[in-house]
């Protein structure tokens, strides 16, 4: 390397100009970070601009309701809240079963703003929490990638994360769900871990533990962190990269992290008792053993060390085997080997469909299709392999972490489409590294070949030769996107490529000739990379605006140049809110539970939390049973109103008839008299004239298609694309009280039981219902006696014997 040619007089000048350059670079990078934050915020505002500032989907409504409660009642009431307006009559302990991070964050922001006399409503704060935290997440990505590769890579990956569609889909303005803050906490925890690993400072280790605590508060996906970090520590130990910084980065995190995780009520003692955490304890023990071995090695002479090793191995091996046998016996004694159902379905993708139909029925839990990778991470899909290679040149602790992160998240994203979200930051980090390295190489080639910069070029020569060697490898990868796009980033293929690259880099380094890419090639490649970025930006903006901004509460579609808005859901909830009594119970399929409690403010039977499979199976059985049996079930649960979602008039495909197969499966899983074969004709669920009689008589069919023939005379279902089987029928145990404008929500009321029961109590059940058939809806007449007769009905039903003619009734 040529010595700098500056004289002693010129040296302070060069030093000052360097300092100035660095200062300018710092200011520029902070300004860019600020702009990236603004970009991340604004790309998520499409939903507010195109529709309105409303909370989307289903789960966010629950979080919104909890936040409202928190802001009104205060934090002590929140911790001790037992909610009796859901899962009637069981109720739900909200304080102990909710991940409090999101609601506490939004509650704090609301309280802060209100104490500054900025009167934002809770809904506004909830809607805009996600965009704010996505800006913070992109800054956290900058922190993480800066520790891995440098500030340039940091800025690139921050920019990529601000716009990646996968993250936008879960953090758009209005999507007030756990992932909105959890992804920020995830990246921030990883960033602080890498920072501790690089600096070995206990201060950052403390911050790391606190960030991990925030992650545990926010999302159930924290188990990913507490398994990935031990995996990385193990990888470092096994590849001979153990250092005392690794110990400082890992050991305090485990102790503090376990304590903090156990402090969160929803996790509690699971932090020490479930298999999800055992990896961290195992690696904790391993790293202590390794640290002790290194310490002994340091203070003993090599001969004595060998003696020590033989002694320890002979004695310790027996003890170790005994302990491992005990541990295995303990773990194997539990049926799921200590893992929870959700974690097992991640490790074994077929587990949920075999054993837990509820987990299998959620659409987010299905495996993703190939196009969804290109939709969700677009250009990054083929930049990731280039980034993995760049991480190996040179391999450091931090870059090995990046490789491990992308490998594990790629596997998990293949199991569940919901976990594409965890892949997104990893993809952004590795792609940012790849892009930044490519830019570095091209700009260095250009700088080297420009004549006016020769004096600096000599100083840069040493860096350029190694950088150019990388360029040959990386440029070869980026110029062939078609080949790499077909390769999934699996560890086997990565190892093959690493083996290919290593001999060529060694050969070129030995030559030590000055290699620079030709000026034209570098300029054109730079332009092409900018083009690539432009494609990415265009795709992300399109995805954010057109695909991910729709609040599923309000539907819209464009036809003949006009925009049609379907606001039926809110219409129905508003009707319920204004036309029913506060204590009335409403039954529906569990998808709509959260929205009903939040918007209609009525007690529901089952909701999206799906914690009680039996209760859901009860509702599913009721929906699949004929009217009489369904009335029986709902009446035993004190239900007054039932509603179904029906899309046949407008062609809305996610209605309850399409979800019916899950009602049958989940109900049939618990109550054997519901057999799926009874509803299938030739292996599919049909509602036309070829449908089975059980299907045509079940409650779901009747409630969806009651009076449907009056709409167009032919009862043509636009979703199933056929005319329905049974067109003219009357309801005997339910009465229709409200149908929304586009027939999307149909609300029915349970008819009250008969006033008088003729004959003996043993025969009361069949006699009652045959009398119902001839009864008309004289509501006023019934209203007066309603309370009395309900009371009477309850006492008589308790006294009457339940034997006799109830052979088909499974409820007694």
């Amino acid at each position: 390397m040529a010595p700098p040619e500056a004289s002693s007089a010129a040296f302070p000048n060069r030093y000052a100009s360097n300092a100035l350059r660095h200062a300018f670079g710092d200011v520029l990078s902070y300004f860019i970070l600020l702009l990236i934050g603004v970009l991340a915020f604004s790309i998520r505002i499409f939903s507010v601009i195109k529709y309105e500032s409303v909370i989307h989907e289903f789960d966010p409504y629950f979080n919104y309701r909890v936040t409202k409660f928190l802001t009104k009642q205060g934090i002590y009431e929140f911790w001790n809240w037992f909610d009796d307006r859901t899962w009637y009559p069981l109720g739900r302990v909200i304080g102990g079963t909710v991940y409090p991070g999101l609601t506490l964050t939004a509650g704090t922001i609301w309280w802060l703003l209100n104490s500054l006399n900025i009167p934002l409503s809770v809904e506004t704060v909830c809607v805009f929490t996600a965009p704010i935290f996505s800006a913070l997440a992109s800054w956290a990505t900058y922190l993480l990638t800066k520790e891995v590769k440098g500030a340039g890579a940091g800025l690139t990956s921050a920019f990529l994360l601000a716009m990646v569609p996968s993250y936008i889909s879960r953090s758009v303005a209005g999507s007030y769900d756990n992932e909105a803050v959890a992804i920020f906490a995830l990246i921030f925890t990883f960033g602080l871990y890498i920072k501790t690993l690089n600096t070995g400072s206990l201060f950052y280790a403390t911050l790391n533990a606190l960030a991990y605590f925030y992650m545990v508060c926010s999302w159930g996906g924290y188990t990913f962190i507490i398994n990935l970090i031990p995996m990385h520590v193990l990888l470092c130990v096994v590849t001979g990269r153990y250092s005392s910084r690794l110990y400082i980065a890992y050991a305090p995190l485990v102790v503090l992290g376990t304590l903090l995780a156990a402090s969160v009520p929803v996790v509690g003692f699971n932090a020490v008792m479930t298999s999800e955490h055992f990896a961290s304890f195992l690696v904790f023990i391993i790293i202590h053993v390794v640290a002790f071995v290194y310490y002994i090695k340091g203070i003993l002479s090599p001969k004595m060390f060998k003696v020590a090793v033989t002694l320890v191995v002979s004695v310790g091996l027996a003890v170790c085997c005994a302990m491992i046998a005990v541990l295995i016996a303990l773990v194997a004694s539990s049926p799921t080997k200590g893992w929870s159902g959700r974690s097992l379905s991640l490790l074994d993708p077929t587990y949920a469909s075999k054993y837990i139909p509820i987990i299998a029925s959620v659409s987010e839990h299905q495996p993703p299709t190939w196009p969804s990778y290109f939709m969700d991470i677009n250009v990054l899909a083929f930049l990731v392999p280039a980034g993995i290679i760049a991480c190996f040149l040179p391999l450091s602790d931090a870059s090995s972490f990046a490789v491990l992160y992308i490998a594990t998240s790629a596997y998990f994203s293949g199991v569940m489409v919901r976990l594409m979200l965890v892949l997104a930051p990893a993809a952004c980090i590795t792609s940012g590294i790849a892009l930044s390295e490519a830019f570095d190489v091209f700009t260095r080639s250009i700088k080297f070949q420009l004549p006016g910069v020769l004096s600096n070029a000599e100083v840069d020569v040493g860096e350029t030769s190694s950088a150019v060697v990388e360029a040959q490898n990386v440029a070869g990868k980026t110029d062939k996107p078609e080949e790499t796009s077909k390769d999934r980033p699996s560890r086997k293929k990565k190892k093959e490529r690493v083996h290919e690259e290593k001999p060529s880099t060694k050969a070129k380094a030995e030559k030590k000739r000055l290699l620079a890419l030709p000026l034209a090639a570098s300029v054109i490649s730079l332009l092409l990379l900018v083009f690539l970025g432009a494609f990415y930006v265009r795709h992300c903006v399109w995805a954010a605006a057109e695909v991910y901004s729709a609040p599923s509460v309000v539907l819209s579609y464009r036809s003949h140049g006009r925009l049609h808005i379907f606001d039926d859901f809110r219409e129905a909830y508003a009707w319920l809110r204004h036309n029913t009594d506060v204590n009335d119970k409403v039954a529906s399929w569990w998808d709509y539970g959260y929205q009903t409690t939040a918007m209609a403010n009525r007690t529901v039977i089952v909701d999206n939390n799906t914690w009680n499979n039996t209760h859901i199976a009860t509702v599913g059985t009721a929906m699949s049973s004929p009217e009489r049996a369904a009335w029986e079930i709902f009446h035993s649960l004190d239900v007054k109103y039932v509603f179904v979602i029906f899309g046949g008039l407008i062609g809305y495909p996610s209605d309850d008839i399409n979800k019916f197969l899950w009602m049958v499966r989940i109900g049939g899983g618990l109550f054997p008299h519901i057999k799926e074969a009874d509803y299938l004709r030739d292996g599919s669920y049909r509602i036309d004239s070829k449908a089975t009689p059980t299907m045509l008589n079940c409650l779901m069919y009747k409630l969806s298609y009651y009076r449907f023939v009056e709409t167009d005379g032919k009862a043509f279902d636009k979703v199933r694309q056929t005319e329905i089987g049974k067109k003219y029928f009357k309801l005997t145990h339910f009465e229709e009280v409200f149908t929304t404008h586009h027939w999307m929500v149909r609300i029915y009321k349970l008819k009250p039981p008969k006033n008088r029961i003729r004959g003996k109590t043993k025969k009361s059940k069949p006699v009652q219902f045959s009398l119902f058939c001839s009864k008309n809806n004289s509501d006023v007449h019934l209203q007066v006696d309603f309370n009395l007769l309900m009371l009477w009905q309850k006492t008589s039903s308790r006294n009457s014997s339940r034997s006799g003619a109830q052979k088909k009734n499974p409820w007694h």
Binding site: G200, S201, L202, F203, A205, T206, A209, L210, S243, S244, R245, Y247, I248, A251, P252, V255, L256, T258, L259, L260, A262, S263, F269, V272, A291, I296, G298, I299, L300, S301, M304, V307, A308, T310, L311
Partner: protein
């Protein structure tokens, strides 16, 4: 032959360990003493739990993890203060001690909360 030589080896090993440890500076030995005390306290708690039963579990967990936590943090301090450690020669020992105090503060706050 094997037994006798292994006994000699064990004796030689023990002797060399002792002499090597005696050469460590006093401040590190104090930290080692603190580590030993913390581990001993943890063992007492575990024995007590084995005798009396694990209710309330959160108090047991909090107590044992506080001992383990102070052990770990003291070992981290020892690593950072050790003059022979090349990686940390730029770190002033006062800064290491300040970090140690801060981390202990956070640890004990959490333990007080979890003690029940």
């Amino acid at each position: 032959m094997g037994r006798a030589s292994s006994k000699e080896d064990a004796g030689a090993l023990f002797h060399s360990l002792r002499s090597a440890y005696a050469a460590t500076p006093v401040n590190l030995k104090i930290i080692d003493l603190y580590v030993g005390f913390a581990i001993f306290t943890a063992l007492i708690q575990v024995v007590y739990m084995a005798v009396v039963g694990s209710f309330p579990f959160n108090s047991f967990l909090s107590g044992v993890l506080s001992c383990v936590g102070t052990t770990v943090l003291a070992v981290c301090l020892r690593i950072q203060v050790n003059r022979e450690n090349k990686e940390f020669k730029d770190l002033p020992p006062e800064r290491a001690f300040a970090d140690f105090v801060l981390c202990n503060l956070v640890l004990h706050l959490v333990i007080m909360n979890f003690l029940g």
